[in-house]
Amino acid sequence: MLNIFIFELRYRFSRPATYMYFGILLLVSLLLFASGSTPATEKVFHNAPITIANLMLVVSIFGILIASAVMGVPMYRDIEHKTGTFLFSLPITKSAYFMGRFWGSFVTLLFISLGVVVGIYLGTIIGAATGWTPAERYGPNLFMNYFHPWYTLVLPNLWFFSTLFFALIIFTKNIKAIYSGGIIVFILYLITNFWASDLENKELVQILDPLGLNSFSFQVEYLTPFEQNSYRVDVSGNLLINRILWVLVGLLLFIASYMRFSFKYFFQATSKKQKVAESDDKSVKSLLKKVTTSFTNVYQRQSLITLSKLEIKNVLKDSYFRAILLGGVVFLVIDFWIGNTIYSVPNHPSTSFLMQFKGFDYIIFVFIILVFFGGETLHRDKGTGYSSISDTFPIKDSVLIASKFFGMAAICFLLATLPIVVGLVVQTLQGYYNYDIGVYLVDSYLISFPDYLQMLMLVFAVHLIVNNKFAGHAVSIGLWLVMIVLRDFADYNFNLFFFSYKPNFIWSDMNGLGHFGAPLLWFNLYWTAFGVFLILFFSLFFARGSDINFRKRLSKGKSRLKSSTALVSYALLFMALGIGAYIFNTVVYTNGYMTVNESEKRQSDYEKQLKQYEFLAQPKVISVNVNAEIFPKKRDTYSVVKVQLVNKTDEAIDSLHLNFAEASYFHAIYNKDTLAYRYPLTYEKPKFQIFGKKDVKPWYKIYALPSTMQPGDTLELEFHSALINEGFSNSGYSREIVFNGTFIGQSMPSIGYNSGSELTSDEKRKKYELPEKPDDLPPHDDPYGVRTMLFNDDADLVTFEATIGTSSDQIAVAPGYLQKEWTEGDRRYFHYVQDSKIDLFYNLVSADYTVSSDKAKLPDGSDVNIDIFHLASHDFNIDRFTSAFKDGIEYFSEVYGPYQFRQMRLLEFPRYANFAQSFPNTVPYSEGFGWIADFSDPDDFDYIYFVTAHELAHQWWGHQVVPNSTRGANLISESLAEYTALVLSERKYGKANMKTFLEEELNGYLRGRAFESKKENVFIDCNRSYQWYRKGSLILYGLRDFIGDSLMNKAIRGFRDEFAHKETPPFAGSHDLYRHFETVTPDSLKYYLEDTWKKITLYENKAENAMARKIEEGVYEITIKVNSQKLYADSTGQETPAIYQGDYVDIGVFAAEDKDENGRKRTNPLYLEKHKLAPGEHTITLKVQGEPVKAGIDPLNKLIDRKKDDNTVSVEFEE
């Protein structure tokens, strides 16, 4: 055995392939780590133990490929070279042969895997030494940081792959089985990946993922930057079970193959029993008849058809094609069936949503099929040996190549058609009959089909020039890898240079394909012309017959450079160049394309050149009158905004700074005169403007005022501006003005320097020599911040009115009450007036709407009109929107203070962005967030109700009380809105229904802080969305649990009354709200308020066990053993155990869950009380009425706990 083992090793180490694999792994990891392209956030070292482990695991996906080559080949080599038969005669035992081959190959594989380790190590050294990546981004290189993930994560994977591939070879004796094996592993991984996207499937996913990647992600997902830098991954729990499971599966495979293997079995010629004596010897007397033959053009055409058909047949009958296709279809069904869920709630299967899901997994299978079978098709005749017959047929070379292409093109067509079939079936089975055939046809045949064809064209071109099947596969995959790496890691994104890449597009039920159609069409023309050129041109180098080598093909090609095929290919190249020129012009010149680096550089220039004006005294707007003309079909808007400005400062002001980056142009007009301005910015010319520099668009203007404004002076100005869309941009994205569903957030210039446009990443700031920026906003007592409003520093409160014109089939909406509506020609006009003062935060919306109306009643008896503006067919959930408004207006008015408007409106806009935004009495709400949600399960979390309530709550938190511009002030707007919406939802759906939501919030908070790239602020200074949404709702909901509804409401009402509709500074900050909570919180609970607002606090609560004993019928005594510990974390996430007397923590005992009268899940607490628990272990004995099922500590996860699943245990019974 040792001999064979050594022989195998020696053989392997004499093969260049071994070093090539090693080298590729080394190079890839070296480049990633040296260039700093790891997933580590800015406060995490690139070589942090977790980052290293993560990369090693990701690379093991490619390990599947390498393992299949290394492990599959050794045994097969003996079959293929027929050396097997000699082995009978040699004195080798079965076990020596088997073990020698296996372990020899396995050790080789382990050696290859070390390429990653060496690569990462060298990458960190080189990256730091060359300054490619700042040296401080690398931490200490500890041996164990590399070794530990290698043997705990990589080694089990390699073991599993190795045994799998070895077993496949032994059981099937067919090298092709290896491909399918690899694909199966990959599919398993994709499936677990798919399930992982839903929180509810956590457990199973972690155990079943054969790569352990999902299990790993779950294990490390909440680790803070400090922990990622300091600790190695904890291989325990599900990750440990996962690793053991797959090692055992591997062992099983290993043993099974060993049992199955014998020389006799393995090397026996695979001769199927041949039919004995081909019987019925019809004595054939007839002579061969003469037949008519013809070789005209009709013959060539006919041959093209039959050859193509035969090619289709060849592919369709291939069992590997069928297997891969089946995989693709399985994923189509799963993805179409479940789609995207939001809070675990699915959508109705709307066609435009389904088409988008093709891009999840199906596309991967399409890619595999096209790459492999594209090459397979071209090499089929050579590979099978049929070419020695077929090459003598009198068909033209062009017919031969064309037939191969058309055969595969038909396969592309099939691949493009399958999603239609699956989609229709899924829609029908789910009882959704609103089939959108137009969307199906356009998406499948005008978008996907050309895309697949282009992929195929490149594959063909590669194989025509490379002319070796395996090298061809490698080159085609390599080309795509290079493109993906350049785009994803190197920030290159100029679509025109990336074969078959096009601007992204999003289907919308409201707007169809909308403005994405044009760029898609142009890019498809461009890539198709280019692709056909590639095929035609490289087909010149095609040669048939035997004795063909590269030189021969080259000379053959040269001799054909003037053939008609060549001429057509040149024509197509020119066509591609012509279309490319048009695209280049519209992307680079008309739409001002800039590289990622250039945009960053400009951000830094902006800060360097204009930061001096940040606190310059500027007037504030006090009244706004908008006159806007929206042209939806042309996607243009022209605005004239009359404003009144006043100098609220105590300095004289003689210049006005205006900026409006999105506008095509803007002017300030005083008394009918356009004011003169200066453009203070100088930028470098964009690199892509190689055909001359485009005129600079001055977007920041410094105007000399007609006369100096003394303190208190007012000034009336008109701002003229236009938003004009011409052609398309590189990304193709643009969402504001669209054919149907316009939503414009800004139609007038903004005043002064805006620090929000500065670079935020400290690493990038350093690169451009800017100081670090730890916080965006000043401290809570900053005098400038306190007198400035958060959402718009151009004004305090203003009077507002708007007149909007749009096309005659659309309704235009702005904040305010509709005064008049009229038509002029083919234009429709709306005049809105807001009769009370609002903050300067308005929007313009226009679409072809259906309006559903209702009314809410205020406590004083007055009515509030509720209007839902929506797409006619999106009527599934209108009542959820309406009831949230109704319930909210009534309840919030009662407890927090009266609603300030006489109307509330919600408007659907296309799902080009997924958010809702609350303007005064006006809420645009994205199409993608619930309009077609399917709430058939009564336990679903009604996120429409919640989000609508949240936006409504902003009418109080944001509009009645406007936060100031200091650190943490945004929690007034977002945390209060989140909390009050949660309270409203709980009133409607009950406590138990909030569970999914609260779990998502906790998950969101813990993940948010794990990805923190600077420092985690305490809540009162919150500066991130994971803090003001996620943590905010958790800790306010928690506080309510401690102090009760009435004290909560008292505090919030008091806060609201102090600041509502306040027109003069100081405006509200986070400390003001805290003050009100502090007043109502009893001393015994102040620790909680401080822990949550002024510290970063986490709990490690855990239930060890719960033993119950039946005392009498229906009465049980239960003993629960729990552990509790509070921890404080610093801003990097480093935790220290807190020292404290005891905190209040829930102890709960639950009976079995059942359903309530609405069919919702109901939890049935037998006992739920707060206990004051000191740190450490506690044993608590209770008597309960009813049979206990579960028990534990903080069972409803009211406290922030990183391992919430261990808080409860199942109750055990003792006799």
Binding site: K272, Q274, K275, E278, S279, D280, D281, K282, V284, S286, L287, L288, K289, K290, V291, T292, T293, S294, F295, V298, Y299, Q302, S303, T306, L307, L310, K313, N314, K317, D318, R380, G383, T384, G385, Y386, S388, I389, S390, D391, T392, F393, P394, I395, K396, R544, G545, S546, D547, N549
Partner: protein, 295 residues
């Protein structure tokens, strides 16, 4: 109609000289190309079949230059290569129908008839629905023969056609070839002398890329009429015989060797004069180039 090959030479990139100034004139009828393995037969046939180019020389089919006008030759060609494969997933019937179409049989019903006719002739009719991947070696070879005859070829090139056929099938094949119309050139390469003696009106022997003999089989036999002598010897005597005589072949016979030598007059020492057969012609020629005697 005749095929004339003039001064054809071919050297492969690995230095092997496969054809060395080959000139042959091949008339209508069956033409046998005899030669040991590696003689250059297949290279010659592939070159005629337009699968590869020669370095120099020409091939003319009447007025038609084969090397310059491959397309025209392909329209008249039927070719059975020595090594070939087929699409494993396609049935024999579909494949042959397809090939017939490739060979210009455009009419569907005519093609259908032709296909079943051919399959019957090669005794594959009962297996016509089976995928070619399931065929045994012999069946595949027979399919190869069928496809070479599809269409209206009047230049048929069959490279080692009888390889892998059992005696019955070989006979069937002989019959089939003999049925082929008058106005056709059939070139058949083989190293089995019997194939040539049974079928061919003309023949050539090539070895190491050179033509050693060219003519009718009887021409060959006549040349050796007086010159072949045979004797039975012990195996260990061979070396000395090889030194003294021009030994052209040996055969094992009951533990001893049946020796055949070529000489102008009877050598004595127990040699007897025998009537030459085609095998003697073959060995006589190639023994000038290679040592055919292996023990």
């Amino acid at each position: 109609m005749q095929l004339s090959i003039q001064n054809l030479s071919k050297t492969y990139s690995n230095g092997v000289k496969a054809l060395n100034n080959v000139s042959l004139t091949i008339p209508k009828g069956m033409f046998g190309l005899l030669g040991p393995n590696g003689a250059g037969k297949s290279t010659l046939m592939r070159t005629i079949a337009t699968l590869q180019d020669a370095d120099s020389g020409s091939i003319m089919l009447d007025d038609l230059n084969v090397l310059e006008n491959p397309q025209a030759i392909r329209e008249r060609l039927g070719y059975l290569p020595q090594d070939f494969g087929l699409y494993p997933k396609i049935s024999a019937e579909v494949m042959l129908d397809h090939i017939a179409q490739m060979k210009g049989v455009g009419n569907r019903s005519e093609r259908k008839e032709l296909v079943s006719n051919l399959l019957e002739k090669v005794n594959l009719y009962t297996h016509r629905k089976k995928a070619l991947g399931t065929y045994s070696g012999g069946m595949r070879q027979r399919f190869g023969i069928a496809q070479a005859l599809a269409g209206n070829p009047n230049l048929i090139i069959v490279d080692e056609p009888t390889a892998g056929l059992d005696p019955t099938e070989r006979n069937r094949f002989y019959n089939l070839l003999s049925e082929i119309g008058e106005n056709t050139i059939i070139i058949l390469s083989t190293h089995i002398v019997e194939d040539v003696s049974t079928l061919c009106s003309n023949m050539a022997i090539i070895c190491n890329g050179e033509v050693l003999m060219d003519g009718t089989p009887s021409d060959g036999l006549n040349l050796l009429k007086q010159n072949i002598f045979a004797k039975i010897i012990r195996k260990d005597e061979l070396e000395s015989y090889k030194e003294n005589y021009k030994v052209i072949s040996t055969k094992l016979k009951e533990g001893n060797l049946a020796l055949r030598v070529e000489a102008d007059t009877i050598p004595g020492e127990g040699f007897e004069h025998v009537e030459p057969n085609l095998e003697d012609v073959y060995f006589s020629h190639i023994s000038k180039k290679v040592d055919p005697i292996t023990l």
